[in-house]
């Protein structure tokens, strides 16, 4: 296992929002992640890459607070820092009778009583979140009937309802086809560009990563490399990260 590396790039004095220091997560006797230092700055767009079992999702979940670190710590720059987490997939009973609008209502961060239906008070918020992802027509559709791409957008809408400073996505392109992946890349790029949203995401798709991320963190239980896609997505770093022949990728379009 190689040593730790540090993401302390601060070219323009942007504020650090989230800092992981000496982060380690152990499951039983197995260290999924160890010695990771990472500083997430306002406006960052960082991708986590690495082979299966490298600790990418574990790092993302530790940053969200879903997994408690075994060692080290995760600190937010301000109390109540709002995070919008989008899981890799929503494993739920497809016969669960809940509409998309109701799903977004239960995800709304405000405190209010609810007994089914779409909240009248927050209907405009919910419709706007869906419209911004071009799925406004799905508000009354049962959640279990959505396609992979539609569900991915609804999950992002649910995360955006939290009015997050940081959007964290676990393998957002895993369950969608090539065209859907391109649309998702455009969508995340526009959220980053137009709303100034800080975005962290895990991906196996180096084409997706290379055309979207500003920085790439290579993980294999610890941090192997970090830098811009041009610096990191090289044969040398990819071979070191994946421990074998480097996966190929090509930069097909301007990053954003």
């Amino acid at each position: 296992m190689s040593g730790t590396c540090h993401h302390r790039r601060d070219p323009d004095g942007r504020k650090a929002l989230l800092t992981a220091t000496g982060l380690g997560v152990r499951f039983g006797n197995y260290w999924a992640l160890r010695g990771v230092d990472l500083e997430v700055r306002d406006g960052d767009m960082i991708a986590f890459i690495g082979p299966n079992g490298a600790g990418k999702s574990t790092l993302l979940k530790a940053l969200v607070g879903l997994i408690a670190p075994t060692e080290g710590r995760v600190a937010a720059a301000e109390p109540g820092l709002r995070l919008g987490y989008v899981p890799q997939k929503l494993s739920f009973d497809l016969n669960f009778p809940i509409s998309v609008g109701e799903f977004l209502t239960v995800n709304h961060p405000a405190r209010f009583l609810w007994w089914g239906g779409v909240s009248r008070r927050f209907r405009a918020d919910i419709a706007a979140a869906l419209d911004s992802l071009h799925v406004g027509g799905l508000i009354g559709q049962p959640l279990g009937t959505l396609s992979g791409g539609q569900l991915q957008r609804v999950l992002i809408a649910a995360a955006l309802l939290q009015q997050p400073r940081i959007l964290l996505l676990d393998e957002p392109s895993a369950s969608i086809d090539r065209r859907g992946t391109d649309e998702l890349r455009e969508l995340l790029a526009s959220l980053h560009r137009e709303r100034g949203l800080t975005v962290l995401f895990v991906s196996h798709d180096l084409h997706f990563v290379g055309n979207l991320a500003e920085n790439v963190l290579c993980l294999n239980q610890t941090c192997c490399a970090i830098g811009s896609p041009q610096e990191v997505l090289t044969e040398h770093h990819l071979t070191a990260t994946y421990g074998g022949p480097a996966p190929s990728w090509h930069h097909a379009a301007p990053p954003r």
């Binding site: 969200v64 607070g65 879903l66 995070l83 987490y85 899981p87 929503l90 494993s91 739920f92 009973d93 016969n95 669960f96 009778p97 809940i98 509409s99 109701e102 799903f103 209502t105 239960v106 995800n107 709304h108 961060p109 209010f112 009583l113 609810w114 007994w115 089914g116 239906g117 009354g140 049962p142 649910a158 939290q162």
Partner: protein
Amino acid sequence: MSLAEIWSYDFLRYAILSSCILGPTCALLGVFVTLRGMAFFSDALAHSAVTGVALGFLVNEKRGLALDPMLVVLVFSVALATLMAWLFQRTNLSPDTVIAFSFTGSVAFGVVVIAWLEKYRLLDGILFGSIYSNGPSDLVKQGVLAVVVGVFLIGQMRRYTLATLSPELAHSRGIRTAWLNYGFALLIAATVVVALKMLGALLLSALIVIPAAGAKLVSRSFRGMLVFALLAGLAAPLAGVLVSCQINVPTGPTVVLANVAILVGCYLFRAIRAASGRA
């Protein structure tokens, strides 16, 4: 027997009022029991009442006390529910394994105690219940239960719904899912204890699970499921009491059969809707 005649008898009036309170309360709880796949959990708690009642008689007989056995059932059910919820959270045993050994172990222990006390007749009442033995004090207990379940579930409904749909997503939104799970287990325990007298351990699960299961079959939204379950939860026990009076058959099983009839109706409705391409 006319409705006016039925209403004129105290025991029938109390049975009808009890149905109107407990039916929708159990159905509301059943919405989450069904969606969380906990039908076997409520069944296990209902059967553990055998042990609670046996322990109540044991304490009274050996210590010369006059405790209400249902109080001991409440304590035992709450303790068992908490233990099972703890085992779900803290061990890698699957929920059905935890329920199976808790269920069979507690019932076996209860039967041993009942055999030792030579109180075999107790088993009849615990297993089959007797809705006609309800009195005003039972209605008060049932009313309090309805208020507690209603306030708790409606107050936490958004959290419970999200935690039921995706515990991971709920956790990421700052919802403390472990506490919700404990709270829900305790609500089931309290409901089982209060409703046991009406249907008994064998039939109680029907009151909790079937209205919600039927509602799930025909609903496309959460509100639809909630409203349908509450209506079915009200209609089935009322129909069961009234029909059993008319044709002179046991009330508990009639209530269960009314629930099953609703479930079959829901299934047929869904099948017809699917066949006509609107599912």
